[in-house]
């Protein structure tokens, strides 16, 4: 019976106007990976921030390694106890080196100077312990891929002898290969006796590493137990409070005529002679590894990146697209991969975001026209209703919405202008399971209305569950086309790894 | 007993008051006491030239008030030499109910509109140091052109005595477009017409002695034989650069304008041969006298009085300290 590393009992936390945590409990053992699950807003982050000392609890008991915590816990104390959090939004100084970041706040000094040599040596040593041997400690963190940055964060946590590690959405920005690598590290840490809390929305991958699970909903503790004792449906039901019979709803719709044809598109190294068609009544999915060129293809179609050659034909008419402005005006729109940075203006209100690409509709009087508030209000109202966006009001900052609702705002902007083709790049990244279903249902609605839908997704179950047809890309080319109803992950992976010719 | 104490106190008060005005020319023009409001607008607040002018005017005002008049003078000067700000000050003076505006104009024409408005309201304009092209009630100023000629002749004589007959003379000016400096330059330049001396292009220091010093350094490095500064800061900075050059064994002949402690020190140190000292105090006093005369009914008739410059060099610098 291994003892508990952390117990949290009867934790309550209230923010002005909102009860974030109501009598929540958590029991974490050493040498165990516990999944902390719940929808966005369930209170998972708040609970972990209390554990790491960023927030103080209003009431309740925390015991770490058998010792009860008297009074408030601050970040330094939490660190001294061996608690470390790896945040979802990576918290590294992009301009500093790997070693600098690992030793930030605890730099080693010898003879009045920074002991860079020793810090570099220890950094390399720590990374090696995680099985990473080719990371230069002098490399600037900003130049690393997100996956490697995450490795550095994990190594940093270990450097301060973290015995309790909290990982918040660690896999959302990683490629599949990097996720595999990260799982290996998690298993090693577990073997070393570290207690790990793992927060993620990617439920399908949990079974690789998770031992125990705790589920929260609306600030309350729902249940906990061994992961193997739950079915996926039970987990989802506990998270959402209701049954979700179909995680990946796919409506059957008659395939109609061709809407969009892309012919022989070339754009740099990542998009080479790509051709495809999009039909009414069909969701076209793009699968492939990170670096396959899917995002680049979509950006070229949308005009965000310049293309070298190729034609884009919409409803039979060849389009000239030199910028997103051209694409939007002619009916092709994109919901980008990086929602917070490219999809929305997070500091602007919801209203302003929805209105932004639609000002030509909202303003009367051409270029110098003034904004017609009524038209704008109606547009926002319509978007809110048809997509059931949960918001306190249209004036609040878009950045304060949950991931799912943010994505709905992005879609609302495009729906307002009767676009012909909507491209979704990673439509449900960072969104919880219930909200994901809502997005899928919106996609189905679009399909039914005859709007052309293209989705790019790295989540295999998602792309296989929602698309009617899948194109696989590798190394800038389309390498295969499959019917999701009659294919397997392995087949898709075969096409995705067909690197083929090395000739440039 | 009480009367004697009171008289004694009065005597003490008068002595104190008189000693406070000890540095002014208390020779007020005898006559009926007058009561009016005056706005004094100089080019800026910082240049010692304006401060002297203002202080002399204030002393004169105090003298008249002591003799029974009620003169209220407000010093309105912009932070820096700036035409737009000067116009604002004129408008403020009108709004404040001033009956007389004593002003040193940055530029001959830029304030004309504002000044015309004042005249239309019945306000009388008295120019000090630098008039505008609009006709005023009186002008008390240095004849800058004549002063420039004086400076030029002084320098020419020094150069002749030293056997220097040709070369470039560097000009460190203050701000472009200021009439007084323009006249000082023109007067100076006229002396060297037809000689083998060439006047370099005018460098503008904006009256900042640090800038002037760097400009002078560069001119010296470019081989000038002499430097002429057109105001206090320009002269001051140039003299410092000349002193610097002297340490390297170069002799540069420098003359300039405006009395200040620094320039006096430079004359004593030898790097500044001479400066033209204006009489800002005379300008201030004459202007106040003019206000009183006008209030008493006299028609000033647009009189223009040259308040004079003195050449201050090593021979007479002690008198000016």
């Amino acid at each position: 019976m291994s003892e508990y590393a952390v117990t949290m009992e009867h934790i309550t936390k209230t923010f002005p106007g909102v009860k974030a945590l109501d009598d929540v409990q958590l029991h974490l053992r050493s040498g165990e990976v516990m999944a902390l699950l719940g929808e966005n807003g369930a209170g998972k982050s708040t609970l972990m921030k209390i554990l790491s000392g960023v927030y103080t609890r209003d009431s309740g008991d925390i015991t770490v390694f058998g010792k009860k915590i008297e009074g408030d816990l601050n970040t330094k104390q939490a660190q001294d106890l061996g608690i470390a959090i790896i945040h979802q939004e990576l918290n590294m100084c992009q301009h500093l080196t790997v070693a600098n970041n690992m030793f930030l706040g605890r730099e080693l000094v010898k003879n009045g100077r920074l002991d860079t040599k020793e810090m570099n040596r220890q950094a390399v040593e720590q990374l090696a312990k995680l099985g990473i041997h080719d990371l230069d400690p002098d490399a600037k963190v900003g130049d690393l891929t997100v996956g490697r940055q995450q490795m550095v964060e994990i190594a940093k946590a270990l450097l301060i002898n973290a015995k309790i590690l909290v990982m918040d959405e660690p896999s959302s920005a990683l490629s599949n290969a990097e996720i595999t690598e990260m799982f290996r590290i998690v298993r090693e840490l577990r073997a070393m006796g570290t207690a790990i809390v793992y927060i993620s929305h990617r439920l399908q991958e949990l079974h690789h590493i998770v031992d125990a699970v705790t589920i929260m909903r609306d600030g309350k503790y729902i249940t906990e137990g061994r992961f193997e004792d739950f079915t996926m449906e039970q987990i989802i039901a506990n998270m959402v409070g209701r049954e979700i019979t179909n995680q990946f709803p796919r409506d059957k719709v008659e395939k109609g005529k061709e809407i969009l044809e892309v012919r022989h598109l070339n754009a740099g190294r990542m998009v080479r002679d790509v051709s495809f068609e999009v039909y009414e009544g069909e969701v076209l999915g793009f699968s492939g590894l990170v670096g396959a060129g899917r995002t680049e293809t979509m950006r070229a179609v949308f005009g965000a990146d310049a293309k070298d050659s190729g034609e884009i034909v919409l409803d039979g008419k060849t389009l000239v697209i030199k910028s997103p402005e051209d694409a939007i005006r002619q009916g092709i729109v994109l919901a980008p991969e990086d929602r917070k940075r490219e999809g929305l203006c997070t500091k602007l209100s919801i209203r302003n975001n929805i209105a932004l690409p639609n000002l030509d509709i909202i303003c009367k009087g051409g270029f110098l026209g003034t904004i017609n508030r009524k038209v704008e209000d109606d547009m926002v109202e319509k978007g809110k209703n048809s997509l059931t966006i949960k918001m306190a009001g249209p004036e609040i900052e878009a950045g304060s919405l949950s991931g799912g609702n943010q994505q709905k705002v992005v879609v609302a902007k495009w729906l307002a202008r009767q676009s012909r083709v909507i491209i979704f790049d990673e439509p449900t990244r960072g969104i919880d399971v219930a909200a994901k279903v809502e997005i899928y249902e919106i996609i189905n609605e679009l399909k039914k209305e005859g709007v052309g839908v293209v989705i790019v997704s790295s989540e295999m179950p998602e792309v296989m569950g929602i698309s009617d047809r899948i194109l696989v890309m590798c190394n800038g080319r389309v390498t295969g086309e499959v019917d999701p109803r009659n294919t397997t992950e392995e087949e898709i992976m075969t096409y995705a790894t067909q690197f083929g010719d090395n000739a440039e | 007993m009480k009367k004697r104490i009171f008289a004694g106190l009065l005597a003490v008060a008068m002595t104190v008051a008189m000693s406070m005005t000890a540095f002014a020319d208390e020779a007020i023009i005898e006559g009926d006491p007058v009561e009016t409001k005056i706005g004094l607008i100089t080019m800026d607040q910082m240049d010692v030239h304006w401060v002297r002018l203002k202080e002399a005017a204030e002393a004169k005002v105090a003298a008249y008030n002591e003799a029974g008049s009620k003169l209220d003078m407000v010093w309105m000067a912009p932070e820096t030499k700036d035409n737009a700000q000067q116009i604002q000050k004129i408008e403020a003076a009108i709004a404040d109910g001033c009956k007389y505006i004593i002003i040193a104009c940055n530029d001959a024409t830029s304030c004309n509109n504002a000044l015309q408005e004042a005249i239309d309201e019945g306000i009388k304009i008295i120019y000090v140091d630098a008039p505008a092209s609009l006709e005023g009630s009186a002008t008390y100023a240095t004849d800058n052109y004549a002063g420039g000629v004086q400076a030029g002749e002084y320098l020419k004589k020094v150069l002749d005595d030293a056997g220097v007959t040709e070369g470039t003379i560097g000009i460190v000016d203050a701000q472009a477009g200021v009439d007084s400096c323009e006249n000082r330059y023109q007067g100076f330049a006229s002396v060297f017409e037809g000689t083998d001396f060439v006047l370099g292009e005018r460098q503008y220091s904006d009256g900042d002695n640090a800038k002037a010093q760097e400009l002078a350094n560069t001119l010296i490095a470019n081989g000038v034989v002499a430097i002429y500064g057109t105001n206090d800061g320009a002269t001051n900075g140039s003299a410092a650069a000349v002193a610097d050059a002297a340490r390297d064994g170069d002799t540069i002949y420098c003359v300039g304008w405006d009395k200040s402690d620094s320039n006096i020190a430079h004359v004593e140190g030898g790097e500044l041969l001479a400066f033209m000292a204006q009489n800002p105090n005379v300008m201030g006093e004459d202007a106040i006298d003019a206000v009183v005369r006008a209030e008493r009914g006299e028609d000033l008739g647009g009189e223009v009085v040259d308040t004079g410059v003195s050449t201050v060099d090593a021979s007479n610098v002690a008198d000016f300290k």
């Binding site: 590294m92 | 900042d208 002695n209 560069t218 900075g237 200040s260 620094s262």
Partner: protein, 326 residues
């Protein structure tokens, strides 16, 4: 691999020094006197005030902030020291009092920006106006008189401006010593590391235990110290205190820092670049005058060259980025 990374790491600095060399060649062609024995040492000396304010502004920029009060503190420094000396205070004591006053301003800036989280633009704009006012009233709204020729005064003037050893002015050596000390701080001490960190990602820094308030204040104290030194240089050069001293110098500081490769967004840049940036500025002033470029054109040309320097740097930076990731 190693050679490549040196060049790419210091690229912005190398570009700036390249600019210095190109400008020197151009100006020498336009007027031989540019590199003459009478011009060159003075030119190098004229770099010092720009270098000093560039160091201060540069370090504040690396923290992601800005210091608009630099010029006013410079003026205040010149006026306080000169006024005290002219009133009979011992030169060394006057300098010490002056130093304390300037550092106090640095603390105020640190508290406003670091503790009360005022946007640095606003906070230092406030101290800028206040300090300029102080500079003006210290001597009753007059510029000071000459500081005199006593032994200490002459020594002061020589140390900061007039004295030289061989062809090199003392002032240059003093400025380089200041540069050396702060360069050491930035590259070899914890404080320096923290300065880069809060400019790069202040949240990450805070979560890693960096004292953001303390680090912000250190940067502003350095800036105040540099302005103090620059004020002494100005005062030594003129032999008196001028209320106008230092006007616009905060902007020259930005120019020196930015031309030298320091980003106003924070987190990057090297102090050695400021040497190049300050040099470019001084060379332009001196060279354009020597080349007899009409006065009206000078400001335009200086502005164009500064914009060009920054554009080249931006283009180079974004060029590297595109080749990099996904």
């Amino acid at each position: 691999m190693k050679k490549n990374s040196f060049v790419s790491k210091y690229a912005s600095v190398l570009t700036a020094f390249g600019g210095v060399i190109i400008l020197m060649i151009i100006f020498t062609i336009m007027n031989k006197n540019f590199i003459s024995g009478s011009n060159l040492p003075k030119l190098i000396r004229s770099i010092c005030p720009y270098l000093l304010v560039g160091i201060g502004q540069g370090i504040v920029c690396i923290t992601g902030n800005i210091d608009l009060s630099i010029g006013s503190v410079l003026g205040m420094s010149a006026m306080i020291s000169a006024t005290l000396i002219c009133n009979g205070v011992n030169v060394i004591l006057a300098v010490i009092i002056d130093l304390i006053a300037c550092l106090a301003v640095g603390c105020v800036n640190g508290v406003l920006v670091g503790k009360f989280k005022l946007p640095p633009f606003i906070g230092t704009l406030g101290t800028m106006t206040i300090c300029r006012g102080l500079a003006e009233i210290v001597n009753g709204n007059y510029n000071t008189g000459d500081i005199g020729n006593g032994k200490l005064q002459t020594g002061f003037r020589d140390l900061f401006y007039y004295g030289k050893v061989g062809p090199v002015y003392f002032g240059v050596i003093v400025a380089l010593i200041v540069w050396f000390c702060f360069n050491y701080m930035m590259n070899y001490t914890r404080t320096g590391r923290h300065i880069y960190a809060i400019g790069s990602n202040v949240d990450a820094a805070r979560l890693s235990g960096v004292n953001v308030f303390k680090t912000t204040t250190v940067a502003y104290l350095v800036s105040a110290f540099c302005s103090f030194m620059a004020g002494l240089v100005t005062m030594a050069a003129a032999g008196m205190g001028s209320m106008q001293a230092g006007l616009s110098y905060e902007m020259y500081g930005v120019a020196a820092a930015v031309i030298g490769g320091i980003s106003t967004l924070g987190g990057s840049g090297y102090l050695i670049g400021v040497i190049a940036g300050a040099s470019v500025w001084a060379i332009l002033q001196n060279g354009l005058t020597l080349a007899n470029v009409p006065v009206a054109m000078r400001n335009i040309i200086i502005g164009l060259i500064v914009v060009a320097c920054v554009l080249i740097d931006i283009m180079r930076r974004s060029g590297i980025k595109i080749g990099g990731k996904k």
